[in-house]
């Protein structure tokens, strides 16, 4: 949106149905979070507790994935990753999770597209019998025989975390850049000629030391995935910023030696506004598709891309708020008693505009969920072995008669986006 009119934005936020309370959206959101956290114990093919040949086991809670038991004076190794075999194991006592399948477990007996209402079978001793109610596929199965309910429960994790962590990164970028652009604008922050020149020069040096030299490590960490990516990226960022800081310090010293008064204004506002304008004119979905197609598909990378591309809206709002706040009395008072600029920004203005920021972040989370599910729907940029809401819908697209592959994941995506929008609009009303 290229509308600079802030009042219009507020009006736009306020316009929504008023009589639905926020109670239910919050409850559903908490339910989603609980599902995401407890998904290994709600949908898992390993039993929670079982007694096999006189030994008690807790396979769903185990990290080792195997146990060695003593039965009939013989040591027997039980591998916990036996998938469907758990249901055939002759246990004297077993409690399975409410949904007794993992998303990747393949149930060949109910393989091609079993409807939730159809009769489901299990093969015991080469004879097909009706599936007991506790093992039932409540939401049907996919083409390969994966359980849909389990895939949906585990998909909650993906959708929630992409939205939350992506927007966490975006909000760090958006709030800091927006605050700098709005508070300093083009006519507040003075900088000496040497300092300015050395900062520009140091960008190249910093790029060399933080990215160019470390590119092997960075690429390796991206290929390995996991937390090492974050660690390596943080390390690069620290090197980059410390080099820039060092050079700006040297520049400041030189400026003080030569001429203290020869200074120019640093055009924060122009630079950041132009950056926002440029990023806004790139179709985000297309850009994400092309970046994600080029890189090795992983959710961590998707979160990073989302974070680096979706900070613009937040930054625009924060900038507008800061421009407004800059001329208010309390900021003037802060300046008059000599509080430093950075303290005014962080301690005084930021807490005052937090509600507005929060609204924008929640809207952004809805957008991130939409983008993640769209990408997994078209199967680009997400790991293909992970079943998520979007990939279930993609499977449903190929056979319309299997309505359970369309309705259930679709309603989940819709509900999550709806409650995000609902919470955001409600918060902005206050």
């Amino acid at each position: 949106m290229s509308i600079q009119d802030y009042h219009l934005y507020i009006k736009l936020m306020r316009f929504q149905p008023k009589n639905i309370a926020l109670k239910w959206p919050i409850r559903i959101f908490i339910a989603f979070v609980i599902l995401a956290f407890l998904s290994p114990f709600i949908a898992n093919d390993k039993p929670l507790v079982c007694k096999y040949k006189g030994e008690w086991m807790f396979p769903a809670f185990s990290f080792q994935n195997k146990s060695i038991i003593l039965a009939n004076n013989k040591l027997e190794t039980i591998n916990y990753n036996m998938g469907k075999e758990w249901k055939l194991l002759e246990t004297s006592f077993a409690i399975f999770p409410p949904c007794a399948y993992s998303p990747n477990t393949i149930d060949a007996d109910n393989a091609p597209l079993k409807s939730p209402f159809e009769k489901q079978f299990i093969t015991i001793n080469n004879s097909s019998v009706t599936l007991p109610i506790k093992y039932r596929h409540w939401f049907g199965t996919t083409q390969n025989g994966n359980d849909v309910l389990s895939a949906i429960i585990h998909g909650t994790k993906i959708s929630l975390s992409v939205g939350i962590f992506g927007m966490l990164l975006a909000s760090i970028l958006g709030i800091s850049l927006g605050a700098i652009a709005g508070y300093y604008q083009n006519n507040t922050f003075k900088i000496g000629y040497f300092q300015f020149g050395l900062i520009l020069f140091s960008l190249i040096i910093a790029w060399f030391y933080s990215i160019k030299i470390r590119q092997d490590e960075l690429i390796n960490s991206f290929n390995n995935g996991g937390l090492s990516v974050i660690f390596q990226l943080l390390f690069s960022v620290i090197i980059f910023s410390s080099i820039v800081y060092l050079f700006s310090g040297i520049g400041k010293k030189i400026d003080n030696l030569i001429n203290k008064n020869a200074k120019i204004y640093f055009p924060f506002d122009t630079i950041i506004s132009k950056l926002i304008e440029i990023l806004n004119s790139i179709p985000v979905l297309l850009l994400i598709i092309s970046i994600a197609a080029i890189a090795k598909p992983s959710y961590l990378f998707l979160i990073l891309i989302l974070g680096f591309l979706s900070w613009t809206n937040l930054a625009r709002i924060v900038r507008a708020e800061f421009i407004k706040a800059k001329h208010l009395d309390y900021v003037m008072a802060c300046k008059a008693i000599g509080i430093s600029n950075s303290r005014i920004i962080i301690k005084h203005i930021l807490p005052n505009i937090l509600p507005v920021i929060f609204v924008q972040i929640v809207f952004g989370m809805a957008g991130a969920v939409l983008i993640e599910s769209s990408l997994s729907f078209i199967g680009v940029g997400v790991p293909l072995n992970v079943i998520s809401w979007g990939s279930l819908l993609n499977e449903g697209q190929n056979s319309f008669s299997s309505w359970w592959l369309i309705i259930f994941p679709g309603v989940c995506v819709f509900t999550l986006i709806l409650i995000y929008n609902k919470i955001a609009t409600h918060l902005s009303k206050k």
Binding site: L8, F208, I213, I278, P283, L286, F377, Q397, L418
Partner: protein, 374 residues
Amino acid sequence: MFKYIIKRIFWFIPTLFFVTIISFILLKNSSGDAVNMLVNTSSSGGSANVEEQKKYWENKLGLNLPLFYFSINCLSEVNDTSIIRNKDQSFNIKEYIPYFKWHGIQNQYNGWLFGFKDSKGILRGDFGISYITKQPVISIIKDKIGWTLFFSILSILLAYMISIPIGIKLVESPNKLSSKWTESTLFLLYSFPSFFIGVLLLMLFANPRVLAIFPPSGIKPIGGYSDHATFFNRVGESFPYVILPLITYTYSSIAFLSKLTTASVTNQLTFDYIKTAKAKGLTDRKVIWKHALKNGAIPLITVFSSIFPTVIGGSVIIESIFTIPGMGNEIIKSIIAHDYPIVIAFVTLTTFFTVISYLISDILNALIDPRIRI
């Protein structure tokens, strides 16, 4: 005014530079070696021929040139021909000393932008050739963009035509029960993901088990149009194919635009000139339609330049659902085939058009509202 336009156009240049840099980085980092792909697809005759072909393509595409106007390398890499460093080597100070080298305009970026040997450069509309079919990318885009533009422009126009009356209805009678229902419906529609709506529509209205009113995929009859069909016949034949995609393209813009209309017109109603108009004795209807809407329409027009990239981006998903032979479908095909020049070219072109439409809308806004020019 003239000064403002000059200033605005001057800012266009760094924007262009930044956008092309992003596209160029993407193009150069795309996986799959361009030369290998070009050679593999062509008819190969012996290994010597392959080497020759490789050299030919390298020369033709200028891949042996430096990437950018300058390069910064480690001092240890400068004299070595191989870039791979020996990992077992003990600490080498040369690896930590930057070496700056100026290459001049004989580089890949410059050639890509302004033309090089055979190619004319992207600024003159030459985006190189497809790795798979070896056709010029721009001709592929020209072939395919028709349906995408047709759907996106038609859907935006349709959305404006539907949402402005809805928005104004909501302003006129905000407390009626029907308005409240409309508001709730719009809110729900706004949260619907487009792929869900698309698949749901197909499942309900193009499914022999439920209702087979519309054809499930494509844009024209499977056998093609009949031989002597006139233009109107063709339109008639394609009509049922267009309905469902058009709904999917349009619904979310309707929700967004009617929200915006209501907000903008309500905002206008607080101004004094509305009181004057009412004092003159005009009816409410006339006040809203003739006075408030005219002034409130400015943000509606500006927002066009931001809806457009969203709609084009959405086309990737919608066209893959309805198998429309447009650009969005082509992009997914190219990504699967690792044919990146098409993808990058389309992203770059869309961004160009959006930047230009921002430029135009800013200038138009400045013409309408003199306060912006300052």
